[in-house]
């Protein structure tokens, strides 16, 4: 008799509120979700397999396409892993620019999350505002790398190119105007009774469950676990910046919202500090085995020509070994596990995608709630299917 009472429906893979191609099989008792089973893999592109046939530098564009809302975070994790494997220390200017760009990326990623999450719950206008500001960040990507989304700006050993002229002014004007914009979003949402009704007490997860399920990033911090890899294992010089870790208490959709808004403010603070301390100097290590020689040199020096040729035809070799490097991406712990057999091609690359792990907690949060809450909860986990499926 119980079977007759429940109904099984399919949500996705083509459903706007699943943020891509996520498919959920929902077993419903009336409006209440009894069981929620996620089915993933619709966007599986075999990135880890492809990486096993590419030279180390060629893997960078692949990483862009995982969390395509935060391409530079993925780049950073990968290049840091290769640098750790090779024992390379990048110059200070490159480090500061990396921090500045990844924090702008964090803001850009959180803006897409905010816009789409709000539109899922019915607050249309936030989406338009959030995308207006994100456009400025995409313009900055374009200025530094030539591409608006798949920027691949970081390289093993440093950066693809130095910042263009007057770029600092662009960033400065953004960090000046953005806090007011953020206050506008908060005006629309933070105290909005409908927003509160739809988010407070919804999709609650306890801190011990969140840790058990491997959740990380704002999702974990919203439960009150103050773990941020930028603080616990600083990389790229994060230990020199003053910023605070977001922290929630209830672990519900509303606290996840507050945490991410707080993080955007902190990111602005970090970008400001990066602008202040931006040192002059080289943007990549001087090692010709890793960094291509300047173009004019290639035409004059035989050695430079050889290095140039070798780098583009063979790449570089890495020592035999294995490393795991993780960073605090906008979604959580983004880890790269790299195994080298000493050749110019990675033997194995594994990406620990935060969205993949965070999504696993969805049934835990959604079961026992209403169907409409499932939409709010998916939005609050902030998944990118490109990263879930890789």
């Amino acid at each position: 008799m119980t079977e007759a009472r429940t109904m099984t429906i399919n949500m996705g893979p083509q459903h706007p509120s699943t943020h891509g191609v996520l498919r959920l099989v929902l077993e419903l008792d009336g409006e209440v979700v009894v069981r929620c089973t996620p089915h993933i893999g619709y966007l599986h592109t075999g990135m880890e397999k492809i990486a096993e046939s590419k030279r180390y530098q060629q893997v960078i564009p692949i990483t862009d396409r995982m969390d395509y809302l935060a391409p530079l975070s993925n780049n950073l994790a990968y290049v840091l892993a290769v640098e750790k494997l090779m024992g390379i220390e990048v110059p200070p200017r490159a480090k500061v620019i990396r921090v500045m760009m990844t924090e702008l990326t964090r803001i850009g990623s959180h803006l897409v999350w905010l816009g789409t999450h709000a539109i899922d719950i019915g607050a249309m206008s936030v989406f338009l505002y959030a995308f207006r500001e994100r456009e400025q960040i995409l313009d900055m990507y374009e200025q530094v790398s030539g591409a608006r989304m798949m920027s691949s700006y970081f390289r093993v050993g440093g950066l693809f190119a130095d910042l263009p002229e007057r770029f600092e002014e662009t960033v400065r004007s953004f960090v000046t105007s953005f806090p007011d914009r953020l206050a506008e979003y908060e005006d629309l949402l933070t105290a909005n009774p409908i927003w509160i009704q739809r988010t407070k007490g919804v999709g609650v997860i306890k801190p011990e469950d969140a840790v058990d399920l491997g959740m990380s990033g704002p999702n974990l911090r919203a439960c009150g676990v103050p773990w941020d890899i930028r603080k616990s294992h600083p990389y790229s010089g994060y230990e020199q910046y003053n910023f605070e870790i977001s922290r929630g208490t209830h672990g519900d959709v509303y606290d996840r919202y507050l945490c991410r808004v707080f993080e955007m403010r902190q990111s602005i603070a970090i970008v400001r500090q990066a602008l202040e301390r931006l040192p002059d100097g080289p943007i990549a290590v001087a090692d010709p085995k890793v960094t291509p020689p300047p173009k004019p040199m290639v035409k004059k020096s035989m050695e430079a020509l050889i290095h140039h040729f070798l780098l583009w035809s063979e790449g570089f070799r890495t020592p035999v070994g294995e490393v795991y490097q993780s960073i605090e991406s906008p979604k959580g712990e983004f880890g790269v596990y790299l195994v080298s057999d000493g050749s110019n091609i990675p033997y194995r690359v594994h990406f620990r995608a935060p969205s993949f792990v965070n999504l696993q907690a969805l049934p835990r949060m959604a079961e026992g709630r209403l169907v409409a809450d499932v939409v709010a909860i998916i939005g609050s986990i902030d998944i990118v299917l490109g990263e879930v499926d890789r």
Binding site: I40, G41, H44, G46, E48, K49, I50, E52, S53, K84, L85, G87, V211, D212, L213, G214, V225, W227, S232, H233, G321, E322, V323, Y324, S326, E333, G335, Y337, V339, Y347, R348, H350, R352, F356, V357, Q360, D389, R390
Partner: protein, 169 residues
């Protein structure tokens, strides 16, 4: 260099604690770029993990990552790799289990529930069985897919003809 020293000291603690508790389960240890790798006997992995998680001086309460590596032509063929993290002590450690093709590793889902999807991915991509997993089925590839894409003898690109001929092994 400070990092290195610290890591070696930690190696002593975690490895030493494990050796004390499981004298026969630890097959070898290694340190590279101040990261510790401990190779564990397959049959003991679940017990070792539980101990690492619950021992008050270690508290590896967070399973960051679980994956596998195919060492084709080596024996045992597969390495299943566990990246553990301690939120309290901010430490990382890597565990490894070596299994031959056709052998299964014991599941650690009883220790960390997050292992569920990771182990399904390892099964899907490498065909390494997981014993005691509550719901072991493919996760990324379609259910009726043949083969395991991340195995080294699985081609990155192959023509339909390659498949018709049963694949060149």
């Amino acid at each position: 260099m400070d990092d290195l020293k610290q890591a070696n000291a930690e190696e002593n603690l975690t490895v030493w604690k494990l050796r004390e508790r499981f004298p026969d389960a630890i097959l070898s240890t290694k340190s590279f770029r101040s990261e510790i790798t401990i190779v564990v006997k397959p049959s003991e992995i679940s017990r070792v993990c539980r101990h690492l998680k619950e021992e008050p001086e270690l508290r590896y309460d967070f399973l960051s990552d679980l994956t596998a590596v195919d060492r084709l032509r080596e024996h045992p063929r597969f390495e299943v790799v566990y990246h553990l993290y301690s939120l309290q002590f901010k430490r990382r450690v890597r565990l490894k289990v070596l299994v031959e093709e056709g052998e299964a590793v014991p599941s650690v889902t009883q220790v960390w529930r997050t292992a569920d999807w990771h182990e399904r991915e390892v099964y899907d991509m490498f065909g390494v069985g997981v014993e005691g997993h509550p719901d072991l089925r493919r996760i990324l590839m379609p259910e009726d897919w043949e083969g395991h894409p991340l195995r080294k003898d699985y081609p990155v690109q192959a023509s339909p003809k390659w498949w018709e001929e049963g694949g060149e092994r």
